[in-house]
């Protein structure tokens, strides 16, 4: 318990043994590779053999593949000359790394030599710099025929900040790299220096959604280097032949833990591996916990992404712990732990919350015994994934569970939120949050269920009363301060004293968990120098709360007024109207009794404190605002500028505007600006930042703090600190580690440590059990893609000439084609289609998302999308377009696998959308179920030939599509692309479609007949397929057709006139 900060070695000896055994095995394997080295680059031979055999194979089956309408992957259009490897081309390259710690180098080496590894690191061990160094090595140019050739390394699934870090690190590595490489490159003139003027052979580029056009992308791919690309774009590029898998040197996948099943990344790797056997594949993850959640998830993920080895680097691995702990022994640099105890009220509240949470969980389990997991108990309730675990079980069944259960799920979320708030925010904010919930739960006529279940528990009263006590107790305002504040201030005082006696250079860093806490600490520090500064701060908070409350009341009143305005006319006898008794006498008879009753009534709901707050002395208000403006520039607090002021300054703005456009500074202004300019001595800086921004050891390097205050415990940050300290052991920073003793905070930290350790333990065990997996290339089962398998099969049959009857079989191999809008690749459906042997052709479609036959056009909508496009009427125009160009316009409503197959949960206020489906605004997802249904039926009425497909998951959709395609002809991408582009530029319908098209168009002219409704139109079309047939019909036949003599006459006339014209 006393050692919260440094997590020591694992005490489980067996585990250590197991890990080292695995490491040894790996090392032996590596040595084998290294021994083979003198035989001359075994790798090189492999490369060319495979590529040659590949080449031969492709040549051999060239004609066959030509028969296929579209190959799955477009063939490489750039001729690559297959040269024999020249032994002289093999060279050694010196590469300088920028990794300061020995274990980081070991990770790089390990990842480099092992075959397609998945590297799982402990949190905060500097993954980004490891990855960047590895990328730098992997992107070493190849020498071919005495010329250097850049390699192409792709980075997948990198976040924006990852990209930035990698970019900076690579630039640094470029500066470090030996010159000869680059000189060679430029001398040979192989690669002209790009426009940036840098000749880095390992240039780093980021390709995102809108940054580059197709031509630029293809140029970029050809020029090589390291490219971080969004998987959606890469898929489109791979499928449309902008880049051929064989040209990719290798792929590095980051954040593997985030990849879902059937993700785009696995799709990409599948394509990559199907054509490219020699390139490398490396995966990285920093979150071991997510590999142990389901049933043997490690194996599944490895299979999915085709990794062959697992490299585990937990914090307790010997290399790491020796590296980080040694420094500890050398210097007497100790972490200073500051255990702050909770105040009495806080611990009471904490106790109450935990009890309530316990009861809620127990109740939830009791109510849904068939769904509940054993894992749901109070021990795990502090875990970050707890809510997610509950959601993942409850959401798919949302339409089946009772209202109370839903309430319980909601309450558990709220209680966890309160728990966090208790330790992070101040007493007023906590009270406000609580009060808001109480307010919402006040019984009213309109609601059947009055209270949240947690309020039923007796302990909830404890929470409520103590949170009030923190504000107001014994007829005095307490406004309890957070105990940590005082401590932080005294630590800072300490630090400033230390600075005076020792030569420590660097700013002070305060790290905390979230931006709100950042703000809080900043304002506490800012107020600290004043007399009663913090008390003022709290008062100000209280005022702000009051202001907000009044605002709410006003709003409520306005709303009520509007509602009651109409009903006000109803005259009720005055006897029944309850009015406030206004009396001029100070004491009314019986007033005491009335007051007593009032008090009684309010006692339960606890209105009294609210009133007290309302009556609170306003004098603070003025004072605090003055301080506010003086101290905190602008962004922290909302300023309520009144309108009069606004007007006054309007003229000012105008003059400023004129000055602005003139825009040349005079000398005086310049001097003034110059005077304002100061360098801030880094010793004087106090930087407050949250963990998320510091979760990289480079972030700490940037700041180079000499004193670090950890305001809250955080596992990743602890590791970062360890690494930072190990690197800077000459100038080790002083670390203060603050936490509330015996609190949820402490417990949460301990759980996090334990969970990571457990996860690694599990992973090590699973890795030991993992069967070794080998595959021969000729193995057909290797082709998961059914179409590919079929193709291979037919090839095999073809080679054995004895099967004479096989001719028929051969011809059956036609390729299914689906044209997919290139914007649709965020969904998993295209990838699944590909796996099921359908050739997916990405196109920019104007009409529809998927074209599966020349007649069937599908618009896919996830439910959230559906609601969104109902709201902005996009769907209607989309349907209109589809109906215009296709015979069977189809709306596909697709649910997710882990959603419930019902509209109900979406109708409820909380959104369960995944973040990726982005086009919809949060608020817009609040259509009620009834409304959705109404809109859908409206749509169906408006477009009678619109087909609607409901699908519970992408997998089911694939089945539906395949069924629909059975026996129908394949769509033509050029036709579908041209459709709907714009009326003038629409290309002439091709010969195949002429009949259909003209037929359609001729039919459309029918709509010009006055009095002919759409229903009539469609009934005619339904009964008579061909326009030419319609023309030949007599007037009687037409009357039979439309059941209306007048209309039939009109149609008959119309048709005859038209004939004359033609």
């Amino acid at each position: 318990m006393s050692q919260l900060f440094v997590q020591d070695d694992s005490d489980d000896e067996g585990l250590q043994d197991e890990l080292s055994r695995q490491i040894k095995e790996l090392k032996e394997l590596q040595e084998k590779i290294l021994v083979e080295e003198p035989k001359v680059g075994s790798g090189v031979d492999v490369v060319d053999e495979t590529s040659q055999s590949e080449k031969k194979k492709t040549e051999k089956v060239e004609e066959e593949e030509d028969k296929v309408l579209y190959p799955l992957i477009p063939n490489d259009k750039y001729e690559y000359d297959d040269k024999k490897p020249d032994i002289n081309d093999i060279r050694s390259v010196n590469i300088n790394l920028s990794l300061p710690l020995s274990f980081q180098q070991q990770v790089v080496e390990n990842a480099l030599v092992s075959n397609d590894p998945l590297v799982i690191l402990g949190k905060g061990l500097g993954m980004m710099s490891i990855v960047s160094n590895l990328l730098h090595i992997l992107a070493t140019p190849t020498k071919l025929d005495g010329k250097l050739k850049r390699s192409l390394v792709l980075v997948l699934n990198a976040t924006q900040s990852d990209n930035q870090r990698i970019g900076e690190e690579l630039q640094e590595l470029f500066w470090l790299s030996d010159d000869d490489d680059d000189n060679n490159l430029s001398k040979n003139g192989n690669i002209s220096s790009d426009q940036n003027g840098n000749e880095n052979p390992r240039s780093f580029n980021v390709v995102t959604a809108d940054s580059l056009s197709v031509e630029k992308r293809s140029k970029l791919y050809l020029s090589g280097g390291i490219i971080s690309v969004t998987s959606r774009i890469l898929i489109v590029d791979l499928l449309s032949g902008i880049i051929h898998p064989n040209r990719i040197t290798g792929i590095v996948v980051l954040n593997v833990e985030n990849l879902r099943h059937y993700s785009n990344e696995s799709f990409i790797i599948e394509i990559f591996r199907s054509k490219n056997k020699w390139g490398f594949l490396k995966g990285f993850s920093e979150s071991p916990e997510s590999f142990v959640m389901e049933f043997s998830p490690l194996m599944r993920k490895m299979k999915d992404l085709k990794f062959k080895n697992v490299l585990l680097w937990p914090r307790f691995r010997v290399e790491i712990s020796s590296c980080l702990n040694d420094i500890l022994k050398q210097k007497s640099q100790k972490v200073i732990e500051i255990k702050v105890s909770l105040t009495n009220s806080m611990s009471q509240i904490q106790f109450g919350l935990i009890e309530c949470l316990k009861k809620c969980i127990a109740e939830l389990i009791r109510k849904n015994s068939e769904l509940a997991l054993d894992w749901w108990n109070i021990e795990n309730a502090l875990d970050l994934n707890f809510q997610r675990s509950i959601d993942s079980v409850m959401v798919p069944n949302w339409h089946r569970i009772s209202f109370e259960s839903k309430q319980l799920v909601k309450d558990i979320r709220f209680l966890r939120h309160l728990m966090k708030l208790l330790v992070t925010s101040d007493s007023v904010t906590f009270y406000e949050e609580l009060q808001l919930s109480l307010e919402a739960n006040k019984p009213s006529i309109s609601r059947k269920y009055t209270e949240s279940p947690w309020l039923m528990a007796t302990e909830s009263q404890l929470v409520i009363s103590h949170s009030r006590k923190r504000i107001y107790d014994n007829e005095r305002y307490q406004l309890e301060e957070q105990p940590k504040w005082e401590q932080v201030l005294s630590i800072l005082e300490d630090i400033s004293y230390q600075r005076n006696i020792s030569k420590k250079n660097g700013p002070t860093l305060i790290a905390c968990s979230d931006p709100a806490t950042c703000r809080q600490i900043t304002s506490v520090l800012a107020y600290s120098n004043r007399k009663d500064g913090i008390k003022n701060l709290m008062n100000q908070k209280l005022n702000l709360y009051r202001y907000r409350k009044e605002e709410n009341k006003r709003l409520l009143k306005e709303a009520n007024d509007k509602e009651t305005q109409d009903t006000k006319e109803i005259v009720v006898s005055t006897a029944f109207v309850k009015e406030e008794v206004v009396s001029k006498r100070r004491r009314t008879r019986g007033a005491a009794t009335v007051a007593a009753v009032e008090r009684l009534r309010n006692a339960g709901a606890g209105e009294d404190i609210e009133n007290i707050i309302d009556d609170y002395d306003v004098s603070w208000d003025e004072m605090s605002r003055v301080i506010d403006e003086e101290v905190l520039g602008s962004d922290e607090y909302i300023k309520y500028s009144n309108e009069a002021e606004d007007e006054a300054f309007e003229s000012d703005t105008e003059t400023a505007e004129t000055c602005f456009s003139a825009a040349r500074t005079s000398k005086e202004v310049w001097e003034k600006v110059k005077n304002d300019y100061h360098y801030i001595n880094c010793n004087d800086q106090i930087i407050v930042d949250c963990f998320a921004n510091l979760n990289d050891e480079t972030a700490l390097q940037e700041v180079m703090p000499s004193h670090i205050i950890m305001y809250e415990p955080d596992l990743t940050f602890v590791r970062n600190l360890e690494i930072y300290r190990a690197i800077n052991h000459e100038q080790a920073p002083v670390i203060y580690f603050m936490y509330y003793g015996d609190s949820i905070e402490e417990q949460r930290h301990l759980t996090a440590i334990k969970k990571e350790k457990d996860a690694f333990t599990k992973l090590i065990r699973e890795n030991a059990m993992l069967a070794q997996h080998f595959e021969t290339e000729g193995d057909l089962s290797h082709y998961k893609n059914l179409a590919d398998r079929k193709l291979q099969l037919s090839r095999l049959r073809n080679t054995s000439t004895r099967i004479a009857g096989g001719q028929n079989l051969l011809h059956e191999v036609t390729q299914d084609v689906v044209i997919v809008d290139s914007r649709e690749f965020n969904a998993s459906l295209p990838g699944l289609l590909y796996r099921y042997g359908v050739c997916v052709i990405p196109c920019m479609l104007t009409v529809g998302d998927y074209i599966i036959t020349p007649d069937i056009c599908i618009e896919r909508k996830s439910v959230a999308d559906l609601i969104g496009s109902f709201l902005n009427n996009r769907l209607e125009s989309q349907c209109k377009k589809m109906a215009k160009y296709y015979k069977f316009p189809t709306l596909l409503i697709e649910f997710d696998e882990d959603q419930s197959f019902s509209l109900e949960p979406f109708a409820e206020k909380r959104s369960y959308r995944r973040n990726e489906s982005s086009t919809v605004h949060q608020i817009s997802s609040t259509l009620s179920q009834f409304e959705i249904q109404m809109k859908l039926s409206k749509l169906a009425l408006k477009f009678p030939n619109l087909k609607i497909i409901w699908s519970s998951s992408p997998l089911q959709t694939v089945n539906i599509i395949l069924e629909l395609k059975l026996g129908r002809s394949q769509p033509d991408p050029s036709v579908s692309m041209a459709l709907g582009v714009s009326k003038n530029s629409r290309s002439q319908p091709t010969s195949v479609k002429t009949n259909n098209e003209t037929n359609d168009e001729l039919y459309k002219t029918l709509l010009d007949i006055p009095g002919l409704s759409k229903v009539d139109y469609f009934s005619i079309r339904k009964k008579v397929k061909k326009f030419s047939v319609l023309k030949k019909l007599s007037k009687e036949d037409l009357t039979n057709l439309v059941d209306d003599e007048g209309l039939a006459q009109k149609i008959f006339n119309f048709l005859n006139i038209q004939e004359d014209e033609i």
């Binding site: 093999i90 070493t140 600490i521 703005t653 825009a663 304002d676 801030i680 004087d684």
Partner: protein, 258 residues
């Protein structure tokens, strides 16, 4: 990684961070230590030899200060003047990607010459400006220090300029949004004059800039040693702007002038 951040105060409570990188290619040209590992790259025909130089270079606080003082005029020029309509439309904005421009000739002479006296009131040492990409510019600065100043996003810079110019306009609606950086907060620790005077000691001297890093201590120790000095600090919150400007150090001034 050798990135370090220099913070400069450009107005009363506004801080602009500069990110300083060191191009240490030259410095590490001759690394002689043995490679730590040799391995063939399977996807390649090269055998890589990895080396790990353990040298780390930082810019010290003093150096950062001298650097920041030296580039003061140019930084201010960049912040306040570069994105003004006139300059943008006539020179900087017109520059094509990948091309250079003589900064002195085409910008300083044209815009920042005092019409009457004919001398420059801006002491600019930028030699050349290069447009690296659509929004990114590179300025080559050379005086005692030799650095490249990168503007990562000229659009954001112009937002910053708008903000700085209209900052005092209390009409929040019309003034441009603040280009502040995420959540990072910076407070400046400074001795609290008010309280210090109250405790009977005149500490105003401390506020003066001192070449010595630990100026405060020295002055403290020079005072009477009997009583423990009590210094109250105040922590002044500031507005931390976005990181827009990168500086790549190419050459440090010589330590001993010949």
């Amino acid at each position: 990684m050798t990135l370090s951040i220099a913070r400069i105060k450009i107005s009363d409570n506004i801080i602009l961070p500069l990110r300083v990188f060191i191009n240490r290619k030259q410095l590490l040209y001759n690394i002689t230590n043995e490679p730590i590992i040799q391995a063939p790259l399977l996807s390649n025909n090269s055998i890589v030899c990895l080396k790990s130089p353990n040298t780390r270079i930082f810019v010290s606080n003093n150096d950062l200060e001298s650097l920041c003082d030296e580039i003061r005029d140019d930084i201010l020029l960049i912040i306040y003047e570069l994105t003004s309509q006139e300059v943008m439309n006539q020179t900087i904005g017109k520059l094509r990607v990948g091309y250079n421009l003589d900064f002195k000739k085409s910008v300083i002479n044209r815009f920042f010459k005092d019409d009457d006296t004919g001398d420059y009131y801006i002491d600019s040492n930028i030699l050349m400006v290069t447009r690296v990409s659509k929004l990114k510019y590179k300025f080559r600065f050379k005086k005692n220090w030799e650095v490249d100043i990168f503007i990562n996003n000229i659009k954001k810079l112009s937002d910053l300029r708008d903000y700085l110019l209209f900052r005092h306009n209390p009409n929040q609606m019309s003034s441009p949004s603040i280009p502040i950086n995420s959540v990072k907060k910076v407070l400046i620790m400074e001795p609290d004059d008010y309280l210090n005077i109250e405790t009977g000691k005149d500490q105003t001297m401390i506020l003066q800039e001192d070449e010595n890093d630990s100026g405060i201590i020295d002055q403290q120790s020079s005072q009477d040693d009997d009583s423990k000095p009590i210094i109250h600090y105040r922590y002044k919150p500031t507005l931390n702007l976005a990181e827009l400007i990168d500086i790549h150090v190419l050459q440090r001034p010589r330590r001993h002038k010949i």
